[in-house]
């Protein structure tokens, strides 16, 4: 006859197995033996499925309660530390940079806590105005409107330039093209120019490489090159543009493809790609994406990155900003593919 055997576990060839099953019983005797964990006591009572070892479980229970109490103590200890914290909020482009600064800073000052969140430059500035963050990161200058609003609220936004962001446009070194205007770039990336021949290059179809839409660089390139800073311009990346998930993927593809063109932060330039010299328009000089050209503002696809604080930085905020502007902080700028403001 069959009987529901409830839950138990079984050792066979020294392998421990759990099961929930029907087991056959014959003439009221269990067929097969059931053991409990490593104790392996044969079942004495046929009404029970597994033999129980109570002491062991009670020990475990005590252990867990003990661990739980320790965790709770630890959590409250951490919560108490929150008083030494700075809230940093703003530009998505700068989130990684801010995070890198925060990590290094906290490594050096374990007592302080820096929380970095994104949301966009506008979000950062509006939280600075409403007092919900101590530091706003912004990849654009604060607007007149925002300053007026801030003054009404008794907040005095203080601008500090912390890094520069330069985007290199790269092609394969075998590509004869070495300079383009911003207009030509817009033509290529929106799909209006499809062959290098149009730009007096080789007769090859242009392979457009772009970052994914989750990249700040993608948005920046679209707004500043494709749409030329005009908010009413509705240009888009050509649908045939390849969306690659990292700057490194673009670098690799450009290195191996003579027809490819891509863009990324200057940090990724190597000998396997040729960065193009870019001119604002046909009358301007063509400028190469070098750190000097970004610093003096000649290279057209670059912008300063700012940090805004309420009034002159004080206390913890000042300590953090001093770290950002120190050599170590600026080395982090370099490591995250931005251009440092201080050499």
């Amino acid at each position: 006859m069959g009987r529901y055997q409830r839950a138990g576990c079984e050792v066979k060839n020294s392998v421990l197995r759990f099961y929930i099953d029907f087991t056959l019983t014959s003439h009221g005797n269990n067929i097969g033996k059931i053991y409990y964990k490593e104790k392996m006591t044969p079942c004495a009572n046929r009404n029970c499925a597994g033999v129980v070892s109570v002491h062991k479980e009670e020990d475990m229970f005590r252990k867990w309660v003990f661990v739980l109490i320790i965790v709770m103590f630890a959590a409250s200890a951490f919560a108490a530390k929150d008083k030494n914290s700075i809230q940093v909020k703003g530009s998505d482009t700068m989130v990684n940079l801010g995070q890198a600064w925060a990590e290094k800073y906290m490594e050096k000052n374990p007592a302080d806590f820096v929380a970095v969140t994104g949301g966009g430059s506008g979000t950062g500035l509006s939280s600075l105005l409403s007092g919900t963050c101590d530091i706003a990161m912004s990849s654009r200058n604060i607007k007149e409107k925002e300053i007026t609003l801030a003054n009404q609220k008794g907040i005095n936004p203080n601008e500090i330039k912390v890094a520069l962001d330069g985007l290199a446009v790269v092609v394969n070194p075998d590509n004869p093209i070495d300079k383009l205007t911003v207009d030509q770039l817009a033509g290529i990336f929106t799909g209006k120019i499809v062959n290098w021949k149009t730009l007096s290059g080789r007769d090859e179809k242009i392979v457009i490489l772009s970052r994914e839409v989750n990249s700040g660089t993608h948005v920046y390139f679209k707004e500043h090159v494709l749409r030329k800073n005009d908010p009413n311009n509705k240009e888009e990346f050509a649908p045939q543009a390849l969306m690659l998930s990292s700057s490194q993927a673009i670098a690799d593809e450009v290195a191996g493809n003579t027809a490819a063109i891509g863009y990324y932060g200057m940090g990724y330039i190597s000998k396997k790609q040729r960065p193009l010299a870019i001119a604002k328009d046909e009358k301007s000089e063509y400028e190469a994406p070098t750190i000097e050209n970004v610093i003096n503002g000649k290279y057209p696809i670059s912008r300063p990155l700012f940090i805004y604080t309420n009034g002159a930085p004080q206390g913890l905020v000042k300590k953090f900003l001093d770290f950002i502007l120190s050599e170590e902080g600026q080395n982090i700028v370099m490591a995250t593919d931005f251009v440092p403001v201080i050499k």
Binding site: R6, V213, V219, K234, E236, A241, L242, M243
Partner: protein, 287 residues
């Protein structure tokens, strides 16, 4: 005391058993709730059959037809490559191979299944992509074909192991009968074994395809991700899975874009659910 303990353990295990169903139900409800919100702003027809995918523009264009076709194209390509090889491999292992080679092959296939997809994607990116580019004289090697080839590798272990299982479970008498009637080995395989195991083989193929369509990392790395209507297997495509993976980080929670990505999740869910159900039907038909 024993009774009480027994009771507690029993209920605990019951909860564990129910938990998986509970979580699946929760995930499904969440997916539906978030995904259907997109249809307040975009009509289902425009969403499914729109030809442009510009989710972060103003106004945004949310047409996922290029993505659906991209996924289907890559999957079809992978199926065409992996089915003949996979079934052939299963026949060899089940019928022809000597015991020693059989063991080696089986271990090899298990090893293939153990390679993480991101590793396959990376290997594909540095070896297969340039190869495809030069062999077919394409402007870029980041194409649907590269994705199909790489995904075929991922579908192979599933297809081989289930197909081999199906062939193995064909009653020995069928085989012996065929041979006794004077059939050659090939005739026996082709006319007896394959038809007898057909439902299991179909299930193997469907499960292999199911694995391919849900694959994300490798396709994201090697198919180029251009959201263009695919017109050939030599062109870049963007798949449903790659779109979700690439854009989820950017989408603001509660935005139209966020809901659209969940709706893509529903489409993907429906496709792989259909494939799994078909596979299941074939498997049960066999029993």
């Amino acid at each position: 005391m024993r009774k009480l303990k027994e009771f507690i353990v029993e209920k605990l295990i019951l909860i564990c058993g129910l938990a998986s169903i509970f979580f699946v139900a929760l995930i499904f409800l969440f997916l539906l709730k978030e995904g259907f919100s997109i249809f307040k702003t975009v009509s289902p027809f425009n969403f499914l059959f729109g030809k442009s995918w510009y989710p972060i523009s103003e106004p945004s264009q949310m047409g996922i037809l290029p993505l659906i076709l991209g996924s289907l194209l890559v999957t079809a390509g992978a199926a065409i490559i992996s089915i003949p090889i996979g079934v052939g491999c299963a026949i060899y292992i089940a019928e022809i191979a000597p015991a020693k080679i059989k063991e080696i092959l089986k271990a090899g296939i298990e090893l293939l299944a153990a390679i993480p997809s991101v590793v396959l994607g990376f290997i594909g990116m540095v070896t297969l992509v340039p190869l495809v580019k030069t062999v077919f004289h394409l402007p870029t090697g980041l194409t649907a074909l590269s994705g199909s080839i790489m995904l075929a590798f991922m579908a192979m272990p599933t297809i081989v192991s289930i197909a081999e299982d199906a062939l193995y479970s064909v009653p020995k008498t069928y085989k012996e009968g065929a041979l006794a009637l004077g059939a050659t080995r090939w005739q026996m395989i082709w006319r007896v074994m394959l038809p007898a195991a057909s439902s299991g083989l179909l299930a193997a193929v469907m499960l292999g395809i199911g694995r391919v369509i849900g694959e994300t990392m490798a396709v994201m790395m090697i198919t180029g991700n251009a959201a263009v209507m695919p017109n050939s297997i030599f062109a870049p495509v963007r798949t449903l899975t790659a779109t979700i993976a690439a854009e989820m980080g950017e989408a603001v929670v509660g935005s139209e874009h966020y809901f659209a990505l969940f709706a893509i999740g529903i489409v993907l869910f429906v496709i792989s659910f259909a494939i799994n159900v078909t596979a299941d039907l074939f498997l049960h038909q066999r029993q």
